[in-house]
């Protein structure tokens, strides 16, 4: 099971969350002008990345807030957690896939160094990016 650090609630079991698929897929700006092909792309086509994938999660049985996650779809390592609306973080060349650390204590909030482009906005106070411990499978 994934151990996911909710930006608001701290580390919780995957069973508290709901998966929302690929992140950063905006609603078309001019829906009337889309061709059938473009509608098909918006409705049915999503990236299916093997590797680092930006996706949305909802803490449905906790704070009920959405957030984004960068996760490796092969190892399932959680590489970054960042707010909805923030751009996808670009890991440092030297420190790939590590934007911070999460305490193992169940209800702790997160601490740790933040990746350079992880924005901290609407998801709560001063704790911007959180990651679960590496290989956070239970």
């Amino acid at each position: 099971m994934l151990l996911i650090s909710c930006p608001n609630c701290g580390s919780r079991d995957e069973t508290e969350f709901h998966y929302g698929g690929q992140a950063h897929v905006p609603y078309p700006e001019n829906p009337d002008e889309l061709t059938d092909r473009q509608w098909a792309e918006f409705l049915f086509y999503r990236d299916n990345t093997k590797g680092s994938f930006a996706e949305r999660w909802l803490h449905s049985t906790g704070c009920r807030q959405w957030f984004n996650m960068l996760r490796d779809t092969v190892t399932y390592d959680i590489q970054a957690i960042y707010p909805m609306g923030a751009p996808r973080p670009v890991p440092d060349a030297g420190e790939p896939a590590d934007f911070g650390t999460a305490s193992l204590a169940p209800d702790s909030t997160t601490t740790g160094t933040t990746g350079p482009s992880v924005a901290s906005t609407d998801l709560g106070p001063a704790e911007p990016a959180a990651t679960a411990p590496k290989g956070a499978m239970k």
Partner: protein, 405 residues
Amino acid sequence: MAEKLPEHPDFLWHNPDPKPSYDAIIVGGGGHGLATAYFLAKNHGMTNIAVLEKGWLAGGNMARNTTIIRSNYLWDESAAMYEHALKLWETLPEELEYDFLFSQRGVMNLAHTLGDVRESMRRVGANQLNGVDAEWLDPKQVKELCPILNISDNIRYPVMGATYQPRAGIAKHDHVAWAFARKCDELGVDIIQNCEVTGFVKDGNRVTGVKTTRGTINTEKVGLCAAGHSSVLAEMAGFRLPIQSHPLQALVSELHEPVHPTVVMSNHVHVYVSQAHKGELVMGAGVDSYNGYGQRGSFHVIEHQMAAAVELFPIFARAHVLRTWGGVVDTTLDASPIVGTTPVENMFVNCGWGTGGFKGTPSAGYTFAHTIATGTPHELNAPFALERFETGALIDEHGAAAVAH
């Protein structure tokens, strides 16, 4: 001891080195790739072909599925496709000269709510109109067919009836793969293992070769049969597929005496159970929610399906989990496969069978071979074209087809 061991049996296929060029290359040596190669050789006389497999033969979903075979799908297009497959399952053991233990012990799809009951009866009606054997069973008839099922009112989701397809059943998946592989080999098809496709050679928009870990191989045509990795290959070829790859898990218990005479599936409490020929209870359920190529999933999914199984079959409470595993399944949003042409000339794709493509193996091979050989789809797979996501002519088997395995 050693001298008492029997002789090693004959190998079922050879392990040739790749030739410099083929008339067609099939990417992926699972059930679908092997069946496609078999029908290309047998029905279309194309024997200068190769199946390229990155690992070992049928080590992907083919070796990981729970082998349920049925054809009681709701929509006409699906019923035609899966019933064609079921009829082939009935004749293939003789045709391939290999008894892969296709056991037509029937499949039951349980109904637990009034909504389920209505949907199920509708599906039985639709199946009968399409010439697919289907019956509606009330709870007493369910109990008669499968005495170990708990039909009491005292469970959270009591059994309110079931659909039943008598001709449905299970088969031994690895033997199915070996049966196809042996025939392919006899017909002159090269089966090349440990050969990963890493890219494509194109002349303009036409594919002319594949790059592999064992060198570049020229080819007239390419057929993709890579299941969970279809998106990865499409990306190499320069087009997109409306596929999401998810982990799908299953489990088996230790061996038991025969207690379970049929196959029971429940969409609502989400578990399906059969008993393998050797005696293991085989169980599965739905995909893990997240995208994943890791061939493993989260344990709560296993826990959940076992809880459902014990509620339906109290006798299983003392059984133990022996093994759990996962595959990577290629799901589409309408829960129907994609079999047809691609935006790249001379490249064809068979994918999107998701959680339920074992049963479709014979028809996937049959129709995909036709598509590759002639350049146009067979009437059975024409509705399953990639274009349907653009035209809106979806074949929505979500829910409609009960659990999609």
